[in-house]
Each structure stands twice: as C-alpha cells, then as structure tokens.
Subunit: 202 residues, 2 copies
DNA sequence: CCTTTGTTTAACCAAATGGTTAAATCAAGT
DNA sequence: ACTTGATTTAACCATTTGGTTAAACAAAGG
C-alpha cells in the first residue's frame, strides 16, 4: 500500500522554499512541483489546493518566528541578563532563516484579518505577557526606568528583525558586501542589548 | 486633439493604490483599470506594460521613503536636537503613508539586484554620508559615545519603520485596536529619540 | 464639412495557471 | 499469480491574465 512516506515531506520542503521566496501571489504550483521533483498533481493529492499548502507553510514560519522569543523569556534570571540573552539569541536564530521575517510580515499585511483569527485562537503568548509583567514590576521597584512594556518590546523586536527585512537596502546604501553585513549583524547581538539597557537605566 | 490630460494621472494614482496594496505579483492590470475607471487598454497605451507601470510606482515610493530622511539631516543644529527632530519627523511622515514601507521592502527583497542598480546610479545619499561623518566627529570630540554610524542609523530607522511593517502582528499580540496603536506611534515620536540619546550619552 | 490626429473602447488572443481525471504503476495481502 | 487499494503520471480543462487590435470617437485645422 504505502510507498515512500516522504513525498509529503518533499512537497512541504519545496513549498517552503518557493512560498518564502516568492510569496503566496508570486509562487507557482508548477515551481513547487519542480523543486520537489514530482508531478504537479501530487500537490493536490496530498494538500488539496494552493491555499491549504500555503497555510501549512505560513503557520510553521509564523510559529518559528514567534516561538523563538518565548523560550528565553521564561527562564529565571536577572532582568538585564535576560534581555541581553534574549537579543543575542533572537538575532542568532533569525540569522539562520533570514528570509522568514519579510515573508511572514508581508503575508500578514496582505491579509490582516487572518492575524486576528490566528491570534484569537492561539494561547495568547503567555511568555510575552509574563515578561511584560516583570518589566512593570521592575519599573515600580526602581530596578529599571518605568517604561511601557509594549514599547520596550517593540524596540527590541524592531532592532532585532528590521536589519534582515531591509538587508538589500542597507547593503546598497552603505555599500556593504555580504561579509560586512554579517559582521554588522554579529556586532548587533551585543549592541542592541546595550541600547536597550542604557535606555532602561533608572 | 488632446482630451482631458489627467488620464495619465488617473492611471498612476490607481496603480499606486493597487500595487502598494497587492504588490507586483498580486496586482492585476484589470483592477488598476477599474480603480481608475478607464479601459484596460489605456494602461498599455500610456505605459506600455505592467513592469513599466510598476517601475514608476516603485521608484516614487522608494524616493518618498528615502527622501524623507535627507531634508532633516542637512539642517545645522545640535546633534541631539537633530536626532530628535529626525525621529519625530520621520515617524510623522511614515504615518501618513503607512503601507509604503512594507511594499518597498518586500519588492526590494523580491529583486535584490534591482537595488544594486538603483543605488549605484543614485547620488549615493550624500545627506546620509554627511550625517555619518558628523557622528564620527562627535564621537571623537567626546560629545557623544563613539559608536558605529551605520549601527546608529540602523537603530533609528529600525525603531521608526518596523512598527508600521509589523502593525497587524503588534495589534494582534498586544490586543491593541487602531486608536491604541496610533497612540503608541504618537508616543514613539519622543520615545525613540530618548532611546537613541540615552545610548549615545558618553 | 471634412480631414487629421490623438484618444478611447469592445472584442479578441495566446500564454500561464490552478486544478482535475482517467489510466498506469506499485506494493502488499491472499 | 491475482486482487486490492494507495500512489503517480500525462493529458486535459476552465479561468485568469497581460497584452493587442481594429474600429469608433473626439477635437482641432483647413
């Protein structure tokens, strides 16, 4: 009955590559089939249609992008150390799949309603909520300056993700080749922490 | 001979709306024609083909996004004040056309080669280069901490632009309605300046 | 009035694209 | 060997889509 059970896997891997590169509108089913080295009909046999296939790819990409934040946030350690580790870890993780952010962000902007549904059904990011509470309490206690935890979060995530999203622009404007760009990113693993911590000093 | 000379303008306006909303791959020529309230053939009559039309829209969007930086950078004033004004002004400007950044960034990532060509032919952003020199000198003089001007620039632009690019995500995760989001942005006009300045304190 | 020249439209076209199907293939189970 | 049920393929289909064209229209100029 069952043949090689990895046709499904082949398809998903190929779909990831094509969708993330071209986006939902720009991706072609034929290209995904070619990338996987299989017949186009197999895509529909295993995953019904383009949207269903896209949904799987997108959900995984989305989880990957968000999940990387959580696992740091929960660990118990001094706040400053935690923020520094969060930044370093997050940048390192993104650098492994640098095209994920622009893909996820663009598709989200293409269908903002999807976001509302997806978020509403999800566990509401308890890690992030806990971290925000920690920030508020540290502010009241005087350990750090009192700041809006949402703004803090936006600042951290902005400085971690944006360089990857704007990579071709940055390389163009500042005339940086790929090696130089990677060095900038490496430097930011500490630098972004510095920026945030200096801002939070009471 | 000539009828209403604003058909060309109608087309451009419609093209902007559709391209910025859907991207190059997602935009449909028929939708642009409908938006402009004219016959589809007119698009080709005035602008040859989809790519030519897109190029016009993209170039204007790109210039708009970059140009907004320059006009602040050149004015002579104390560095701290200049940075604060730059941030406030840039955020205000982006807020007027909040969909431009994700559009420009996504299309750039879709065709990174185009970036190289476009940048190479442009005046190389002399405003930005001057500003970077000013940062280096202020660092040597001890007015501010010695930092990489490229990193400084990335930090500023990241915190200014990213919130707009990630808007649906931010609203979802932090359960912010549109009014609340606008308030966050308003707050950032000063806050981002604070973050940068505190980091630059010697 | 009629010619001329730029503008606009409806109809049309070929290629691309997402999706389907009927037949072929393959791997057990008997 | 034969049956059975899942898997795979080539050919096909309907729709969409970017682009074209021939004819209609409109506004001067003579």
């Amino acid at each position: 009955m069952a043949k090689e059970r990895n046709t499904e896997e082949l398809i998903i891997e190929a779909a990831k590559k094509i969708f993330i590169k071209r986006g939902l509108a720009g991706a072609r089913m034929q290209d995904i089939a070619d990338e996987a080295g299989i017949n186009k009909a197999m895509l529909h046999y295993y995953y019904r249609n383009k949207e269903k296939l896209f949904e799987i790819v997108f959900n995984e990409a989305f989880s990957k992008m968000m999940g990387r934040l959580g696992n740091i946030l929960t660990k118990p350690m001094p706040l400053e150390e935690k923020i520094r580790m969060l930044v370093e870890n997050y940048i390192t993780n993104i650098a492994e799949t640098p095209y994920l952010p622009i893909f996820v962000l663009n598709e989200i902007n293409q269908q903002p309603e999807m976001m509302v549904k997806k978020i509403s059904s999800q566990p509401a990011f308890p890690d992030i909520m806990l971290f925000m509470k920690e920030i508020i309490e540290a502010g009241k206690k005087g350990t750090i300056k009192e700041v809006s935890p949402v703004q803090l979060f936006m600042n951290i995530v902005s400085m971690c993700i944006f360089p990857f999203v704007a990579r071709p622009l940055i390389q163009g404007v500042f005339q940086q080749d790929s090696v130089q760009f990677d060095m900038l990113i490496e430097e930011r693993k500490k630098l972004v922490g510095d920026v945030i911590i200096s801002w939070l000093k009471p």
